[in-house]
């Protein structure tokens, strides 16, 4: 039995998981229409590659990945694309984003797809395949999985990297991973083996919270049958034990340092649902077009559905049986979830749970009272922050101070708000402060870029002026020499012609100069000072680029 470790804080909210685990995963009915957003993952939105009116097959690419952090989007069923336009999506802002609307033809006809032999693929080909299949982390952060598939370095004191499969599922009400592990343990084990191969990890740990004994038993059986050296570890039930960093801590005792990624300490963590979809992508060549979703709360029969991405959320909830006193719907769990902004929104890759809420189920919070600095939030904070101080400074919009108090290590788990006796929406303040800081950083970078461009422009104008002056001086000298050499009477005759020629010459020179100015490779005519200046600017640019690339949002996954 492996030694387990602990992390600071955490809370024990009522699990409420048994309601939705009574019946097996059901296949949701084909919806009347599907609205598929092009931004379903962290990073750049996918670019549409189909047009309105086009007929698509199930699994056909409709959005191509662009940029380094991005993923592909596929048609979840066969049918006709009726529109590509902006529609309200599941996002806390409630703002519209680009979506494709698909009217299913009911045939559910697959595009041609086939298994890939992942053992004979290079790492790059494997990553590209996952990117093409649109595999993203299904734990909630939707970070493109292909980027995480790089060979692991070994953690301190070990000679191989550690792969962790996250089946903790710590948030109340959500049971989609639990049901997936109970019913499709063999497939998850297959997927785990693929990940182990791709990462060349030595040790594989599958962490499942001990409130899911059926899932643990199913996974243990599947691992034993496969004969693979994986270890299924039952971890204590505590929220947020399913956060990647915390599961790593509990299973290995290693702590991911602030501002670093798990890979930096030789550990990589994948959610069980992601592992399952990787198995589908490799063993069947299927892109990510459906996922398991828990529909629970105030519905007739809480249960898990296998649902096509893009299914209207209310259509799905209706299949579990509406109840009249339902007043709103929450996407995600009660701790980190958001209320749906509109009745038309549809399911995305990130949606793991839909809770129909009623005033009886989630009574409105009592009114917010001032902070009394009881520090109960600090006691439960799983990342050992000082939430009361973060709140103090976020409220005062003193963002420099919030960063000094490690604002960006906050995982927004909501444990602090959960225990707050004054019912202060603490996480809202942290989210506000984080997005302000991010916006400011972006502005700062834009300003730095503008400064560099402006300085370069000034330099260029100065250089052109100088070059022109030099040319003119040289020409004058040449003209003087020619005048002296030529006989005096000939001068008046040739003068007008000369000026015309000179003008033409000057124009040609000017054109050449301009050509030289846009061709930075042409550096032969530069003085050493100018070259030094350019080198300095290039160095600064490189630095800025480096800064920009290191500022890319860090992935996180539950």
């Amino acid at each position: 039995m492996k030694q387990r470790y602990q992390f600071h804080g955490g809370v024990h909210p009522a699990a409420n998981k048994t309601q939705s685990t009574q019946t097996p995963i059901a296949r949701a009915a084909l919806p009347s229409h599907l609205v598929i957003p092009f931004r379903q993952h962290a990073g750049e939105a996918a670019k549409p590659v189909v047009q309105a009116g086009e007929y698509v097959l199930k699994g056909q690419l409709i959005g191509a990945a662009v940029g380094s952090i991005s993923s592909s989007i596929h048609a979840p069923t066969s049918g006709t694309i009726s529109a590509i336009d902006s529609q309200t999506v599941v996002h806390p802002s409630g703002l519209p984003d680009l979506c494709a609307t698909l009217i299913p033809d009911g045939k559910d006809e697959w595009i041609e797809h086939h298994a890939v032999d992942y053992r004979n693929l290079s790492q790059l080909e494997l990553r590209q395949h996952l990117r093409r299949c649109g595999i993203v982390g299904l734990g909630g952060a939707t970070f493109p999985s292909d980027i995480k598939l790089r060979a692991l370095k070994s953690p301190p004191g070990k000679n191989t990297g550690i792969l962790i499969i996250n089946g903790a599922e710590c948030e109340p009400y959500i049971t989609c991973d639990d049901m997936l592990m109970r019913e499709r343990a063999d497939e998850i084990v297959r997927g785990t083996d693929m990940l182990r191969f791709a990462l060349s990890a030595g040790e594989v740990l599958i962490g499942i919270e001990d409130n899911k004994p059926e899932a643990i038993a199913a996974m243990r059986r599947a691992v034993a049958e496969s004969g693979l050296p994986f270890e299924v570890v039952a971890v204590p039930t505590i929220y947020p034990g399913g956060s990647a960093k915390h599961l790593i801590r509990v299973l290995t005792g290693l702590e991911v340092p602030s501002g670093k990624l798990p890979t930096d300490i030789g550990v990589q963590c994948f959610n069980v649902a992601t592992t399952y979809s990787i198995h589908r992508a490799l063993d069947h060549g299927e892109p990510l077009i459906s996922r398991i979703v828990t529909v629970t709360g105030n519905v007739a029969q809480p249960q898990n559905f296998e649902v096509l991405i893009g299914t209207p959320i209310l259509e799905l909830v209706a299949q579990a049986g509406n109840k009249p006193d339902t007043n709103r719907h929450i996407i995600g769990g009660p701790m980190m979830g958001v209320q749906i902004p509109s009745d038309t929104v549809t399911l995305t890759k990130a949606t793991n749970c839909i809770i129909a809420s009623s005033p009886a189920l989630f009574p409105p919070l009592p009114p917010t009272l001032p902070c009394i600095r009881c520090t109960r939030c600090a006691e439960v904070c799983p990342v050992e922050l000082q939430p009361q101080d973060l709140y103090w400074y976020a409220k005062a919009k003193d963002f420099a101070k919030t960063q000094a108090f490690s604002l960006f290590d906050c995982i927004e788990c909501g444990a602090c708000s959960y225990v707050c006796p004054s019912h202060i929406p603490l996480v809202d303040y942290y989210r506000f402060a984080k997005s302000e800081v991010r916006a400011r950083d972006a502005e700062k970078q834009a300003a730095d870029k503008a400064r560099i461009r402006h300085e370069f422009r000034e330099l260029r104008i100065e250089r052109e002026k100088q070059e022109k002056a030099e040319k003119l001086a040289a020409k004058e000298k040449a003209a003087m020499a020619a005048k002296q050499a030529a006989p005096a009477p000939a001068a008046p005759q040739t003068d007008p012609e000369n000026t015309v020629q000179m003008k033409i010459q000057a124009a040609i020179e000017h054109a050449k100069e301009q050509a030289a100015a846009v061709k930075p490779k042409n550096t032969e005519t530069l003085t050493p000072e100018q070259q030094a200046d350019i080198a300095e600017i290039e160095a600064r640019r490189a630095r800025i680029r480096e800064l920009a690339s290191s500022h890319v949002e860090q992935p996180k996954e539950n």
Partner: protein, 191 residues
Amino acid sequence: MSEYLLILVGTVFVNNIVMVKILGLCPFMGVSKKLETSLGMGAATTFVLTIASGSSYLINHYLLGPELSYLTTLSFIVVIAGIVQFTEMVIQKTSPVLHQVLGIYLPLITTNCAVLGIPLLNVQADHNFMESIFFGMGGALGFTLVMVLFAGMRERMEGADVPEIFKGSAIAMITAGLMSLAFMGFSGLIK
């Protein structure tokens, strides 16, 4: 040695120049908005005050003597002004931002009553050279201490829900008053 320690403790806590003697309130209220600034101001004042107490003792003792004692204030001011000018140049060279932030308060150290007050108190108490230096340094350290404490509080107060009419200097004054009360608790520490 113990008398020097007594002078230090006495000037820093018991007879704190700002909180008990109520000298040097101008920079105390003026440059205590930020921790770094107040620390810089404290350091500059400590430097000026230590040298000023030493040199003023020398001037008073060797140059002026009892006959010319009517020149004490005048000559002290001149010496302090000179040292402040020197400090300003050093700060401008080493930390232009601190120089800009301290702004007018830096040359105003010259007219800081604490800086003139301590050499005059030295004369009054008939301190010898070392005692004068420790008295000056202790007074300045006490000044720095309350500056830093007060700046820390003011930084936090920026985020506090202060009623509109009390915002800014008003609440700062109230806080300073409470702090002064707290420092009264030190009286009786040394007889």
